[in-house]
């Protein structure tokens, strides 16, 4: 049974410069104990999806589709119910732990806050739980009395993880949890997440722009481009034999740590991702695609079958309808 089920999610930010369609028809599924990796360049809409899961987007934002989290129809909840679901059904490890903590509040209080707010226990037990959580993420209990500025970047990220665990949620969304950290620390935090996930049987939606990180953590991968999922499948398969030209470029851009094959081949991706307000016609990737065909600017690819348990939105995949001038 899935902990998170996202159906045909569409999200349009409302700005003075008009609507910004950041997410355009996304389906996602995360099962119990499963790690789904969501990858894509910066600006493709990953954090927007994370925010939508707990309905944290600006009030004016137009959201369509359906989000079901732990049996709750998130988009239909009353404000009171919504608050009750937040952090208990799903919690988020935010991007940039640096700023995600209140600088003038002690760490202990910040970890205890959701426990107390949701009435899961009294002050004393909450503090004990906060201490346990700290130990779980590898920090001494006495750190409870520290302020955020007294911690290193890696320690902060550990605290954020401890905080996310506070109410034992069914799903944890980790939005770029390691991005700002240096390589060694990145590896440690990753290791921690993996261990916790395994030990606690967590359902995890792991978001990053670094594909090589995902392959070590995720069971399945979803690759996102310009507000849409463009490829989906088992983590190993997607990473090692990408079907979508965009996935190929991503995989090439981030060599797996210690993988000798990628040495000296940092073939990146030319150009910038499209502005959500000016998405190219046809396949949104076509202005940057290495395998572009004449049909790509007029045909809008859908998630077609690209092998066993594989989907990809590209005219080149096997499940795509036959098109003139397109080779498989």
């Amino acid at each position: 049974m899935s902990v998170l089920s996202v159906r045909d999610l569409g999200i349009e930010y409302q700005t003075t410069g008009g609507g910004v369609p950041a997410v355009r028809g996304v389906d996602l599924e995360v099962d119990r104990g499963e790690v789904l990796g969501l990858a894509g360049e910066s600006g493709c809409g990953k954090s927007t999806i994370a925010g939508a899961i707990l309905r944290l987007l600006p009030v004016k934002t137009r959201i369509t589709g359906r989000i079901e989290l732990d049996g709750n129809d998130i988009l239909e909840l009353t404000p009171g119910k919504l608050r009750a679901v937040r952090w208990t059904a799903g919690s988020i490890v935010f991007q940039g732990a640096m700023h995600a903590m209140n600088p003038v509040q002690r760490i202990g209080e910040q970890i205890m806050e959701p426990i107390l707010v949701h009435g899961q226990s009294g002050e004393r037990e909450a503090r004990i739980r906060a201490g346990t959580l700290l130990e779980q993420v590898g920090l001494p209990t006495r750190r409870l009395d520290d302020y955020p500025h007294e911690l290193s970047g890696g320690q902060k990220q550990r605290i954020m993880i401890a905080m996310a665990l506070a109410c034992s949620p069914s799903l944890i969304v980790a939005d770029e949890p390691t991005t700002a950290l240096d390589v060694m620390v990145q590896a440690q935090v990753l290791q921690l997440l993996r261990t916790l996930q395994h030990d606690l049987g967590l359902a995890l939606l792991f978001i990053t722009h670094d594909l090589s990180v995902l392959v070590e953590v995720a069971d399945r991968l979803a690759i996102m481009y310009a507000g849409k999922i463009v490829e989906q499948g088992g983590a190993e398969a997607v990473f090692h034999s990408p079907a979508h030209p965009y996935t190929k470029a991503l995989a090439a851009a981030f060599p797996a740590i210690g993988d000798m094959r990628f040495r000296g081949r940092p073939s990146g991706l030319g150009g910038d991702p499209p502005d959500p307000q000016q998405i190219p016609s046809g396949c949104p990737f076509h202005p940057r695609c290495a395998e572009v065909t004449p049909a790509c600017s007029s045909v809008t690819p859908e998630l077609w079958t690209a092998g066993p348990a594989r989907l990809a939105a590209c005219v080149h995949v096997s499940g795509a309808p036959a098109l003139e001038g397109v080779s498989r």
Binding site: G80, V104, Q105
Partner: protein, 597 residues
Amino acid sequence: MMRRWRPVALAVTLVMVGGVALSGSALAQSSGTSSPTGNKIVLRVGVPGDMISPNPLLATNGDDYETLFNAYDLLFNFNPDDLSPSPGLATACNPSADYRTWTCDIRSGVTWSDGQPLTAEDIAFTYRFIETTDENEVFTSYLPYHPTFSVPNATTLIWKSPKPTFAPTIPPWIPILPEHIWKQYEGDGKAARGFANVPAVGSGPFVLTSWDKGQGWTMEANKNYWGGAPAIDEIQYIVYDSQEAMVQALKSGQVDFTDNLNPTLFNSLVGQPNIGTVKGTASTFTNLAFNFGGQGPDATNNPVLKDLNIRRAIAMGIDKQSIVDKVWQGDAQVGSVVTLPSRPQWFYTPTDVQSQAYDPAAANTLLDQSGYASKDPSGIRLDKNGQPIDLNIITLPEETGSVDTGKLIAAQLQQIGIGVKLQSMSDKQIENNNWYTGDFDAYVWGWGGDPDPNFILSIFITSQCLGWSDGCYSNPTYDKMFAHQSTLLDHTARVAYIQKMQQFIYDQIPEIVLNYPNYLQAYRSDRFTGWKPEPTNGGTYLFGWGNQYQGLQPLAAAESGSSSGIPTVLWVVLGLVAIAVIAFVALSRRRRAEEEA
């Protein structure tokens, strides 16, 4: 949450609230010491400035003089009709045939406010005290030729003058002081000026009981006053630094009288319910006084002003009527001589008013013909050394109308090629600096002065330089004239001679008398009756020539006690605040409950 900052914020707030509360209670204690009001009949007088001092040796402004008038007696009072001398402490003073010895009959049975008897000895003491101790020369000019005084008995004062004099009938404006209080300071000017004199022992109709510096002062009725007990029990003088506030206080009944209003505010009060207005005509004059130099090495007077033709041209270049219209909004008369229209027995109309009438063309011609024809590129005339004629004229913001008058004069003199630089400063600043160093060319100020013209005529004599003289004017002919008038014991002869002197001053123009402004006051017509203008024709209701308060009778509103308790609205406001706080708390409780549901 946030366990930390709340105690701090709380502490900061507590400290501030504590400070405020402390200061409040400190003030409450300090100002809550006198006895309760009961049903006292209190007259509250709004004044635009504080007393400078109730010590006669420091008397300077109108408030000081009003207080001294109430607290002390003079040798003679002033007849309200024409301000001629009328019985005061002295019932009469008679001269010997040679006018060197005056014998004055002093009232008997008069007591000081502390119960001690007041005798002729006190008067003799006071005059001697002025001779020895009045170093600032506030009063010395009333005692010419260094007279001596003797007291053959308690009701007789003998005034002996080395030269013939009519000084006792001027009469001397010297408050009679109790010897038993002031004796200790005799001859020690510094100590005498240092004496606070609050509360003051006096013999006048009211006793100065307290002075809350900067806020006002209180005088209580002297029920034993020899002229009869006043009907009111107390006078409170209340200082308003802003005239606007003073006028609003009158409208709301917080004061019963307001002194010395500017025309704009005065006119806003005319016709208001329960408010009466008084226009004292011509009790002062405003002038443009020239500086002739001689104060000392730092004097910066422009020598061109010593040329009578320049002064005449300036006089012709100033449109006095425009000042009446624009600055005084009609509440003034065009000026000419240094006596006042309100003193008809002395006031004089010059024979040749036309010669100084406003006529810029004639002024320009006069200047062209007097050797000031050439001008600099900006149109300012050059003096005989080729320097542009630029006058540094001082104006006084505290003196009603002075600054605006200065601006008009500057614009008008520009038309006849005379440049003006205006400089504003307070009267104390002038006295402390520019006036005694002579650092100015002219100023726009004014004079009040005694009913008798002796004083105002004296300010033009050479020896008054750094005394009362405006700009050290000096003219031997005039000095002789002034000395001569002091010897004229026959009233008619003196009047005629003084007219001659006024004509002389008018022609010589040591200063230009610009206007005789009206003295504007307003009062609550629903609280007191019996106002007595002094002089009777065109005088003011208070701040006149003494004895104006005794005739005041309370009307019903004043009888019922003063309305200055806590305004009910304060209770209302406090109540509303309380309700708002309760509502706020209740609402946020409910909202919280809703949110948590």
